[in-house]
Symmetry: C2
Subunit: 343 residues, 2 copies
């Protein structure tokens, strides 16, 4: 498996073409996903290994991506730490008992592995279903992103609570981030033991921190996790969504940096090319247009990366639920058929 | 008036200290604003010149900013073009009849000045109340930002509708943007005739466009407006919120570029310093902390701009409604007392 196209590309080894997968590929745009979802709520799907494995494999069978990503949610870790999680897909996730004080932080549990056995079991089942066809990506939220949810209690427009914690009580913020980091390390080690082939760390709210704060309150913790979980030939991808300064990713021990669609991939390649493999970054809304536009925009992404390799094709954010199946199929076909010209 | 501190700074002339105002300074954080708001709805306040003038002047009297900005809303222009506007402050604005087709675009009216006389009257009244104390900024939304509202019908998470129009039917998108541009030019000329001392163009949704599209679908229209309204000694500020590539602002005919808090002001100064005056960019959430933190963070902003001038102090986004009055007063006091060291 370690010689699979996707894993080789993540390690910046020569490949015959560019691999392609998309964030949220096991999701609502697929009728087969919606059929399962109609019978089970979101968290039940996460917590039932047979369902999670089925959903994870759907887009491999139906669309033909070059990697699978285990169906789960980044918030299962805070739940295992002791917060009460509710996920309503239309409203986003919420915690009934957000972190409001130092005492709440003290009460958080960091021995999470025992409570996340259902994820490891889903990974093992998925690996059986995939049967070596494509690698399986395991993932976790970055500590800052998880802290943001845990303190806000839900998504937020301005993230006043977590940022005020950071601005007014940085020591307490660090205490919370330390506990989350320990939990994420334990969690990801369990996923790797269950034989995930690569790991992605989603820093979905990276852009919420002013640039001066990002390293201290987010990237340092991500880097510690990457160093702790790093093993030979296991690529680690970091997706710092919304950051402006990619320069700071140079010193991260990660292999691959995810690039959001708001960034100019050509400029990020100028900064990180040859140092980090880049993953991304087509705007998901392009997939709501037509095949001609999709091919032309995907071609622009390939052009920006050029012939130097070091690229995993992906969207710059999750695939939208209203994406027509034929459009995502057309994208994958295009990358599979045309990207060899760049290699 | 043209020799006022704020206007001189906007024109990159030498000043004795850095001027300071903040976006949404005539807003909900002020008890005096909430008292007026308790008796009138938001649009009534916009459309009643006496109320708009009163609210505009409140933060000058109470906080002591170096510039006033006329109380209004960017969506009064689409309303004058024929859309039916509703503003519920907690939900954001919405149009009952969003633009859905070429026919809808054809029906839009561009002779807006006659319908916006209430804004010009508010400007004239405000100028009387200000009585030369500080300059008055007039403003408009950038055509792309207005088009986004007009097509989506309201704020949006992913802006699928306006972006799909741009991706699938670029000619139709340009037709809409042309009509909005003509309306904004007429509107701003009326504001300048009513004696606004400076103009700010808010491209609040600039970050919603992939970087490859920004110039064609937004900046070119902004630049055309700036060229059309430009007059001797009247500064024009452009605030392209969320853009990553400030390089392209070099060729804009604007005087001042607003910088959001997500950007690193030091890096933007490297790109635009000496070419454009910069306005910004402290994170508004800093104002929810305490005086010590506010002084230290405002000091960092001044440090980043250094001793070369060319800076208007502002937040990197609107002041938050929950900002304590003492905190914004502390910020303004700090800039007034400390920024002379940089000049």
């Amino acid at each position: 498996m370690s010689e699979h196209l996707f894993l080789k590309a993540c390690r910046n080894e020569k490949t015959e073409r560019t691999p392609v997968w998309v964030m949220r590929q096991a999701g609502r745009y697929l009728p087969e996903y919606r059929a399962v979802r109609a019978r089970h709520d979101f968290l039940t799907m996460c917590k039932t290994p047979e369902l999670a494995a089925e959903i994870t494999v759907q887009p491999i069978d139906i669309i033909g991506f070059d990697a699978a990503i285990i169906f789960s949610d980044i918030l299962v870790v805070p739940e295992a730490m002791g917060l009460s999680l509710k996920i309503v897909e239309s409203n986003g996730p919420a915690f009934d008992n957000p972190v409001k004080s130092g005492g709440d932080i003290d009460r958080l549990n960091t021995n999470v592995a025992g409570k996340l056995e259902y994820v490891y079991e889903a990974v093992r089942l998925t690996k059986k279903l995939l049967n070596g066809r494509v690698p399986l990506i395991g993932f976790a939220g970055a500590p800052f992103t998880l802290a943001a949810y845990m303190v806000e209690g839900k998504g937020s427009k301005n993230f006043e609570k977590i940022k005020t914690l950071i601005f007014k009580e940085p020591a307490l913020a660090h205490k919370l981030l330390e506990k989350i980091t320990a939990s994420v390390i334990e969690y990801l080690k369990g996923k790797i033991d269950a034989e995930c082939d690569a790991i992605q760390i989603f820093d979905s709210w990276a852009g919420v921190l002013p640039p001066d704060c990002y390293e201290e309150f987010s990237l340092n913790y991500i880097n510690r996790i990457v160093s702790e979980i790093k093993r030979d030939k296991l690529p680690v991808i970091v997706f710092p969504r919304g950051i402006r300064n990619f320069e700071i990713m140079k010193s991260s021990p990660c292999d691959v940096v995810g690039v959001d669609w708001e960034s100019d991939l050509a400029k990020i390649k100028d900064t990180l090319g040859g140092i980090k493999v880049l993953q991304g970054n087509m705007d998901p809304v392009i997939l709501l247009s037509d095949e001609k536009k999709i091919r032309s925009e995907a071609g622009k992404v390939l052009d920006k990366m050029g012939r130097d390799g070091g690229h995993v094709f992906n969207l710059g954010h999750g695939i939208l639920p209203e994406t027509p199946i034929d459009n995502i199929k057309a994208l994958v076909k295009f990358i599979k058929e045309e990207s060899n010209k760049y290699h």
